[in-house]
């Protein structure tokens, strides 16, 4: 039952069925067809626009080469959106995974409320982002509940104009994303933890390993697949974030919280700069792909999920 990296190849072999006729691949056709129709073909068609000045409305447009891309990097507001997207993605991924892992470890214990709490902590991930964003917009208002709580606890000095101060607005947005994503990661880690045989941990406890040591040298490596999936999913969510920013701050104050997705939406639908927004979406695509590849390799190197 112990799953070491040497055991993996054996498992790999066993899961293939060599006698299976190749025609079974037809099973994949409906999925592939839908996927091609909805994502691949339109993406390819859309990509053409990244090299044009199409305004989303006119019947004609001109090809402008790489001008759209150059313009994006020359505009401080779009550079800001790229940086914001990276900050949001990395910070929320790191913190939401740390919190999720901590919650999972704590709830993978004998505490009586564990089942109720598991259900509860995942609930924010179920909420409609539009709802969450409105709720937090209210909570973060200058005279809103959050500042009210800080006052009540005598922490008045910590009060902020959360969404109005450009230095805090992005942090406020990230708090909301973390609130939503922590439960999501917790569930993945709980699943991973439940796959670790208790005897293994007990055996090492008998050997005299401390709790921290036990976690680091036994639990952590065995959790690698869970970490890979969880980090990948939160990272992709962070890189694509839209509703939270759009509803809470609209990208403001003064463009300080725009993400690539909100800027793409704004440029395309408010300014009619379709070419340049699709160029921006391609930059987003390249960023997501690069970061995922790096992250995947890094975790693979640690003996993670294959």
């Amino acid at each position: 039952m112990a799953r070491t990296s040497e055991a993996a190849p054996a498992a790999l072999k066993r899961r293939r069925i060599t006698s299976m006729p190749r025609t079974v691949l037809l099973f994949a056709v409906p999925a592939l067809a839908l996927y091609t129709f909805v994502l691949l073909v339109p993406t390819a068609r859309g990509t053409v626009f990244a090299f044009t000045n199409w305004d989303g409305l006119s019947r004609t447009f001109d090809f402008v080469g790489f001008n759209n891309f150059a313009a994006i990097f020359a505009n401080p507001d779009s550079v800001k959106a790229i940086i914001n997207t990276l900050i949001i993605a990395f910070v929320t991924t790191f913190i939401a995974n740390a919190i999720g892992l901590a919650l999972a470890v704590a709830l993978n214990s004998r505490i009586k409320s564990r089942n109720a709490l598991r259900v509860f902590f995942f609930a924010p991930a179920v909420l409609t982002p539009v709802v969450t964003a409105y709720l937090f917009k209210y909570i973060f208002a200058p005279l809103g509940p959050l500042n009210g709580v800080l006052d009540a606890f005598g922490l008045g000095v910590l009060k902020q104009d959360w969404l109005g101060d450009p230095n805090w607005a992005l942090i406020a947005v990230m708090i909301v994303i973390i609130w939503q994503q922590s439960g999501y990661t917790m569930v993945i880690y709980l699943a991973g933890l439940q796959g670790i045989p208790a005897e293994l941990l007990e055996a090492s406890a008998v050997d005299g390993a401390g709790a921290g040591r036990r976690f680091w040298s036994i639990t952590r490596p065995l959790l690698a697949p869970a970490i890979t999936i969880s980090v990948m999913l939160t990272l992709i969510h962070g890189l694509k974030v839209f509703a939270e920013v759009y509803v809470m701050t609209g990208g403001g104050p003064g463009n300080s919280t725009n993400s690539l997705s909100t800027l793409i939406y704004k440029n395309a639908f408010q300014f009619g700069l379709f070419g340049s927004s699709i160029a921006m979406a391609l930059i987003l695509l390249v960023m997501v792909a690069l970061i995922s590849a790096i992250q995947y390799r890094a975790l693979l190197a640690q003996g993670g999920h294959k």
């Binding site: 899961r15 999925a31 909805v38 004998r110 409320s113 409609t128 709802v131 709580v149 796959g195």
Partner: protein
């Protein structure tokens, strides 16, 4: 680990405190939604004289009934299609060793990364040309395609961990691939099917931008869009707005509470690869 010690007790208290912090937004949401409209008290003070009036008003004014029906239809149909095509696709993608199968797998995985903003506009014109614009079918089609990569990702992860012996026995007994899959493999994948259902249902129910574009002008709406325009109209009337928000998220929360156990099980299967 196996006994409830004083350390476990401390952990329990600590976790309840953390839960309280996480619960704060829910508290505000509910506390205001059950408050009388003219109550000017702090949102932090518990509402002692609750009323359901806001829910009644929100229900009547936001025309949420039709939106809930639409959302339910779109969610159920989309999820059924997603489960059907993704489960089937994952079977050859995992069990076949051919190069073609591997390529197909990676082509689908690329979809996890594609920002759908690029595809949104060109797809809109296609949907219009095939005459589905303004219908809930356009959304079903869109979600079914959009969610294939993520669902195949979950299914293949789970299926890899399933030993192939049972199926091989069936093969030997001369069952065809379709029978083998639907009779033997699909039932074994039940936990991950639960995960796929819940996560996709959550996504479809909550999506905002797509219904906004594809249903616009048709008179039918889904819940997030209905909520968005409702909030726009009743901005400063928070009790009624929050009551509306609660009505809008209730169905998906109920489904989640009913199916919550399988979420964890489904993931845990997928992590054994």
């Amino acid at each position: 680990m196996t006994r409830y010690t004083w350390r476990t007790g401390i952990l329990e208290v600590l976790m309840l405190v953390v839960a309280l912090v996480f619960a704060f937004p829910f508290y505000i949401l509910i506390n205001l939604a059950i408050r009388k409209e003219n109550d000017q008290g702090s949102p932090l003070v518990p509402t002692f004289a609750p009323t359901i009036e806001n829910f009644v008003n929100a229900w009547n004014q936001a025309s949420l009934g039709g939106a809930i029906v639409n959302s339910l239809m779109v969610s159920v149909l989309s999820v059924v299609v997603i489960v059907f095509v993704s489960a089937m696709a994952s079977y050859p993608l995992v069990r076949l060793t051919s190069r073609l199968s591997k390529t197909a797998y990676w082509v689908i995985m690329v979809g996890l990364l594609l920002p759908f903003q690029v595809a949104l506009i060109p797809l809109y014109t296609t949907i219009r040309d095939i005459g589905l614009l303004g219908t809930t079918w356009s959304l079903v089609l869109f979600y079914a395609g959009l969610q294939v990569p993520f669902s195949v990702f979950l299914y293949t992860g789970f299926l890899r961990a399933l030993p192939a012996e049972y199926e091989e026995a069936a093969w030997v007994d001369g069952a065809g691939p379709l029978t083998t899959f639907w009779r033997i493999v699909f039932p074994m994948m039940r936990p991950v099917t639960g995960t796929v259902i819940i996560l996709n249902a959550i996504f479809v129910w909550n999506d905002f931008l797509t219904p906004l574009l594809y249903l616009s002008g048709s008179g039918s709406q889904t819940i997030p869009v209905a909520l968005f325009s409702f909030v726009g109209e009743y901005q400063s009337n928070w009790p009624i707005v929050f009551a509306g928000l609660i009505i809008g998220i209730a169905p998906i929360l109920i489904v989640y509470f009913l199916l919550q156990k399988t979420v964890i099980q489904g993931f845990s299967g997928g992590l054994k690869g």
